[in-house]
């Protein structure tokens, strides 16, 4: 039994991590994904350099004009340059995606693992409260938040993170139940390992894959959700650009100005694709059984 425990390596050991790093660098998908994300991060950071126009500058002579040399991706509903808004919007949207998912993970995973590992009344309390939050319509949560915290991008991220957290609680709990039933955990318990050590060494690394998948997927949802929050007055306020709000405005001009929706849609897709590829790579790299 002790032998089993010893053969399950730790992701927290430095030696493994460097090996994982090397594996990650060899992973084709991870490289492509990383490059995509790096591209958008550079775009966001260097927005003032890349934008060809002021993102808020309106040109009333050029409302909903198709892409041209003057406006690479065309202009929007009040004559602003879509390319420049896309570049500046990368800041809001990347931040909204990453921060809210991080918030959801930080809140959801510990609770889920606790519920799954401890079981009994702890599990009951956490699971029932989790169900209560999940049952509450997102809209009510969001408007209540908007009223309480005041409108800001940070608060929008908190609201999105909060509403995404229950999924992570559920996932973490479900996976913990599976891992807890594995023989090596029984073994670790039998040899009297402390609970915190068991959780850190055996549970966390093994519940990691589905959480990673869900995180990379939730980024897409979060980027789009940011738009509905700004609509409610909670997120980024107009005229500041974000991909989600560009996309939701563009739906009113789907026929007249398709370029308004295509580009932000493509941007969201590429970012989400990048994160998913990187996520796959990370999982492979961190897999103790991989070679």
């Amino acid at each position: 039994m002790a032998e089993t425990a010893a053969t399950v390596p730790s992701v927290f050991g430095l030696r493994i991590r460097s090996r994982a790093g090397r594996r990650l660098l060899r992973h084709r998908g991870a490289l492509i994904g990383g490059a995509l994300i790096a591209f958008f991060v550079v775009l966001a950071v260097g927005a003032p350099l890349f934008a060809t126009h002021e993102p808020m500058a309106t040109d009333w002579m050029a409302v909903r004009k198709a892409p041209s040399w003057a406006h690479l991706m065309g202009t929007d509903e009040i004559g602003r340059d879509v390319f420049s808004r896309l570049v500046w919007g990368a800041r809001t949207s990347l931040l909204a995606g990453v921060v809210s998912v991080a918030f959801a993970l930080a809140l959801g995973v510990p609770l889920g693992v606790l519920a799954g590992y401890a079981g009994g009344w702890v599990d009951t309390v956490i699971s029932r409260c989790n169900e209560a939050v999940l049952s509450c319509p997102f809209l009510i949560l969001a408007i209540a938040f908007a009223a309480f915290l005041g409108p800001s991008l940070t608060n929008a991220m908190i609201a999105i993170g909060l509403s995404a957290a229950p999924i992570f609680v559920r996932l973490a709990r479900g996976q913990t139940l599976v891992v807890k039933a594995e023989e090596y955990v029984d073994g670790a318990r039998a040899v009297g390992l402390a609970h915190t050590r068991i959780v850190l060494r055996y549970i966390l690394p093994n519940i990691f894959p589905p959480l990673l998948v869900q995180s990379t997927l939730t980024i897409a949802t979060a980027i789009i959700a940011e738009a509905s929050l700004s609509f409610l007055g909670l997120g980024q306020q107009p005229p500041d650009p974000s991909w989600g709000s560009m996309l939701s405005i563009a739906k009113n001009f789907l026929v007249q100005a398709p370029w308004m929706s295509v580009w932000p849609g493509v941007a969201i897709f590429l970012v989400v694709f990048g994160f998913n590829l990187l996520g796959d790579g990370l999982r492979d790299a961190l897999d103790p059984r991989g070679d």
Binding site: R64, E77, G233, I249
Partner: protein
Amino acid sequence: MTRKLSLAVAAGMMLIGSAASAETLRIGLADDPDVLDPDQSRTFVGRIVYTALCDKLVDIDPDLNFVPQLATAWEWSDGGKTLTMKLRDGVTFHDGEKFDAAAVKANIERSKTLPESRRKSEVKSIDTVDVVDPLTVRFNLKAPDATLLATLSDRAGMMVSPKAAAEAGAGLGAKLVCSGPFKFVERVQQDRIVLEKFPAHWNAANIHFDQVIYRTIPDSTVRLANLQAGDLDMLERLSPPDIATVKADSKLQVVDVVGLGYQGITINNNNGERSKTPLGQDPRVRKALELSIDRAALNQVVFDGAHLPGNQFVSPQSQFYNQAIPVPARDVAKAKALLKEAGAEGFSFEMQFPNNPDMTRAAQVIQAMAAEAGFDVKLRATEFATMLKEQSAGNYQATEVGWSGRVDPDGNIHAFATCKGGINDTKYCNPEVDKLLDAARQTNDVAERKKLYASAIEILDRERPIIYLYHPKWIWALSSKLQGYKPYPDAMIRLEGMKKAS
């Protein structure tokens, strides 16, 4: 296989055949109506449905003159304190009850006394109603009320069956019984309201549909797609950017008319702490804001030029419009000078706006225009219920908001600009304005009213608690097959005389 197919074809033919004899009109609405009881309801789309369901005492014509509906003639006496109406003979409600003077009396009393009634303030001026004879009714007023006919041409003038109302009480909305050309069949919330022709209606010969279905489709793109796909025959509130699409489609047509309402910027100038800003306190700053806005460009950019720029609570097409004060041109230099004079250069304020796509676009354009004159406008999208509360509580600096409009000009200004006005969220208060608007309410002499409103408009234009920007047009898209649709400024869809060409 072939036999099956031909059977199917035959069945299809039969369907088409029966469709021709049972004509259905399908209308796309932008919102879901609320409770279907004229005394309780409050939505605009609800009134569209009533137009088919319920007859009113009087109606308007497209030029806003009052014309007979259930009342065939009327007469003012006693210095405008008594209104006597002759009623149409032989009218029955959908439940077979007879319509007469006693029914009118019962209806007005219901509007006045039903606890749930939202018409109370509209019929306040009516003291008592007398049944003179079965077809003559007399309204005794507390004071002359020039707006009464307009009131009776809207929900307060809609006649419900007194018997049904007495039985159902406040629950009448579940199955409304009126006397209009169509009667209620069924309703699925947020989806549809189905009405069928009432053959005993006095004007049934002019009704060419057996069934009307109102469908709720909030998204304007989707509403249009339904019309294009043939799932609707007509829709209300076509989005202005779609006008060109519809005009280019030979199977569709566009009909429009300037409405009775307005859109503008309401400025908090006397309602609590947040009115204590240069914008709220100094008329020069408000004037500068107005001068910084190019109404024609705003209309062009945001609405493809569909609406009508304006600067008063009635549109330039109204007979009450003060011609001496035309829509001002943009003047950025003068706006800057005024701001400087007021010592408010670079002044920053927050403007809230209802979170719909049109208003969002307009708010951003206003922001950009005002910036050129030196205003720093912070925008805040606000959900409507919150906006109402903030506004009435004085927790706002400026709001981009409008008013749906009323047939009588009084309905566009009295409650907004008098010191005790029920929806005066600016708490603007000028006894002179109160006097003029009260006087205009109490005379039926149009020339006199014009003079009074002109004077009031002069003062309001100087002090600007509300900057009026444009008057929205009502825009409908219809199948080309639909004939005889007449647009009215009140945007109600009147079905008399409409028909489908085959």
